[in-house]
Amino acid sequence: MTTVATVSEETGSPYALSHLDALESEAVHIFREVAGEFERPVILFSGGKDSIVMLHLALKAFRPASVPFSLLHVDTGHNFPEVLDYRDRTVEKHGLRLHVASVQDYIDRGVLKERPDGTRNPLQTLPLTEKIQAEKFDAVFGGGRRDEEKARAKERVFSLRDEFSQWDPRRQRPELWNLYNGRHAPGEHVRVFPLSNWTELDVWQYIAREGIELPQIYYAHEREVFSRSGMWLTAGEWGGPKDGETVEKRLVRYRTVGDMSCTGAVDSDADTIEKVIVEIAASRLTERGATRADDKMSEAAMEDRKREGYF
């Protein structure tokens, strides 16, 4: 039997949790609240680092039992192959059930139309919300963090969505102590954000501490990219590069993973987790500012998408 009652020099008290332990404990509490109060919860799983950390926390929360949730991936049709491969291996390894909502399917059926700029990020909302309704999910875990964007800074841990999955920032429930209110009417659901209080750096420090495997595109590698609106985009079947855009081979890595058409890579030689952490800590750009084209569309781009049901 081991004991963890060590006095930390840093904290000066045997009973102060480290910031990672405090955040981990809070996230686990949130997972267990949902397991205790909801009928059909699901974890949004994209194969990105935040959803990978979420799943890791869920696995720890219910040990030695298995995770009492299934996974849901909104597949834009423009995903990085390395990430899809990671997704499928993870599902198999933990014996989980994966639901897929496919944007390509909606486009093929003529329900959704490809945008002129080729970005599929805003097109995810309809497949996501219809899947939630069809499967009658009543709690949907998302990896959103309040540090990502200022509309997200206003987000609750338990965020009620109406039957159209809409978020109304003016009608949010105050969240007091750790007493989360999960009441909802039939047809409504609650979006749950266990990583609300984590920052990008916390996520990376936790990945390092726990030895969590990530898709390789998070680490520096040589890749064929071209420049558009100040970002390095991956050349591929999704429609880039266009005329006048030239492909070159660069040493890059990704800070976020999303749709290939709007997720940019950053120049980097950080090929280990230690180097990534030092790079993030020194970066003068936010994760989204550096790598997400869709958030630059307007001052309220995220708020508007969230109102419609986006994660």
Partner: protein, 444 residues
């Protein structure tokens, strides 16, 4: 950029704090200054603020735009809701509940303060202690925030005069102490210029105390657990169905207060059944001891009936259970709370039916006067409430435990959160010593 070392990125502690200030006290500037000077505002965020400020014809970037996240807030130039901010120094990580100063948003300050270990109350040095300051101090006392910082702002506008600061600090500290605030740290600052926020001020060499950030970095975040009542609200029963763990039955939850050791005799409430802790799992790893706020799984020697909503406590330190709760509440919903209101009460992990039996008084925060029998409480009101629950609950006094002494009321019809409740007496002022024999264990 090259100054960051891996040592600086070690695990540190986490401090949750809240800010309170009136509309023009410079709260946004202080928050902006803390974020900016701790290098937590990144280039693209600053560029966005500059872009928007310029498009509105403002000459200097408006740092309040960093914190006003919603369209309506930017349009109206006010903060309408609590927002959470994150920043870090090599010594500590901070979660800041940035709460609006408007009087009609008492509920937002209550929301922010409910999870805060510290609150920063801002004062304009030119105005001194005003009604709004007393309101903020009363809320900090009511919510029992362990540490209060009085930031006397705009010192540059009063000639950095020591006697101005000293008079305000003395008046505030006397008032706060009377309310039972355990600790007040007063700091003279200028958020605009940056005096004593992150960097020590060259303009106030008479001040020998810490800067705001230094204080935030060093204030203790853990408490002496030997005097805490140990409490574990059971969230979920973990029962693996697989052949590897045929007999595993664990009670999962986040320790709300105190500590638990393997071998402790425990009682499960409300049933009152007793057993012994045979093991503690900390997220899959066995440990000998666990404490607040760790999320753990307890294993017991006896196979007794325990489910979500139960409370595991040391047998020698069990609270009595009761169906009659008297509490101070802050009403947070737009629809009023009335006598006879049928509600749901969530305490720990248990939600029970309840009825509002009486509203004996409403509190005016300005002068702490009590108005008897107001009939109802409307949004942002604070009052005393008597509640009858459908099932017995093991409640502590909020003075003893912020986790197991608090509850929320929920509207059973639409699920709205109605009210934040704190069991027992309102303020942390010393109470008269009571005769133990008269004490029925819960009714303070």
């Amino acid at each position: 950029m090259s100054t960051i070392t891996t040592e600086e990125l070690a695990e540190t502690t986490l401090l949750r704090f809240a800010t309170a200030g009136s509309v023009d006290d410079g709260k946004s500037t202080l928050v902006g200054r803390l974020l900016h000077d701790s290098k937590s505002v990144l280039t693209d965020q600053l560029e966005a603020v500059e872009r928007v400020s310029a498009s509105r014809g403002q000459e200097a970037p408006d740092l309040a735009l960093l914190t006003d996240g919603l369209r309506a807030e930017r349009e109206q130039g006010i903060t309408i809701d609590v927002a959470y901010r994150y920043f870090a120094t090599p010594r500590r990580r901070f979660i800041l509940a940035d709460t609006p100063g408007h009087v009609q948003y008492t509920r937002n300050m209550v929301t922010g303060a409910s999870t805060a270990e510290l609150t920063v109350i801002l004062i304009d040095a030119r105005n001194g202690v005003v009604e709004q300051t007393r309101r903020h101090a009363a809320l900090a006392a009511l919510l029992r925030v362990p540490h209060v910082v009085l930031a006397v702002n705009k010192m540059d506008l009063v000639g950095y005069e020591e006697k101005v600061f000293a008079a305000i600090a003395e008046e505030f500290t006397a008032y706060a102490t009377e309310l039972g605030v355990p600790e007040v740290t007063a700091i003279p600052i200028s958020a605009l210029v940056g005096d004593n926020v992150v960097e020590p001020s060259a303009n106030m060499d008479w001040y020998g105390g810490p800067t705001v950030l230094e204080h935030l970095e060093t204030v203790p975040v853990s408490h002496d657990l030997s005097h805490c009542h140990a409490r574990l609200p059971v969230q979920y029963v973990i029962r693996p169905q697989g052949p590897d763990h045929p007999d595993y039955r664990g009670y999962a939850g986040q320790i709300a207060a105190g500590s638990f050791h393997v071998g402790d005799s425990v009682t499960v409430l409300p049933s009152g059944r007793a057993s012994k802790i045979s093991g503690i799992d900390l997220l899959g790893e066995p440990v000998d001891v666990a404490w607040t706020t760790q999320s753990v799984t307890l294993l017991l020697e006896d196979d007794i009936d325990i489910s979500r909503g139960d409370l595991i406590v040391p047998s020698k330190d069990a609270p009595a259970t009761t169906q009659d709760i008297e509490a101070t509440v802050c009403h947070v919903a737009d629809a009023p709370l009335t006598v006879g209101h049928r509600v749901l009460l969530k305490h720990g992990t248990r939600t029970v039916k309840a009825i509002v039996k009486d509203i004996p008084s409403r509190l005016t925060l300005d002068d702490l006067s009590l108005h008897p029998h107001p009939g109802q409480l409307v949004a942002n009101d604070i009052g005393r409430v008597k509640i009858r629950t459908a099932e017995p609950l093991p409640v502590d006094s909020y003075a003893d435990s912020r986790r197991t002494g608090s509850f929320i009321l929920i509207d059973p019809n639409d699920g709205q959160t109605l009210t934040a409740g704190m069991v027992g007496e309102s303020f942390a002022a010393p109470e008269p010593v009571k005769d133990e024999s008269e004490d029925d264990g819960w009714d303070f």
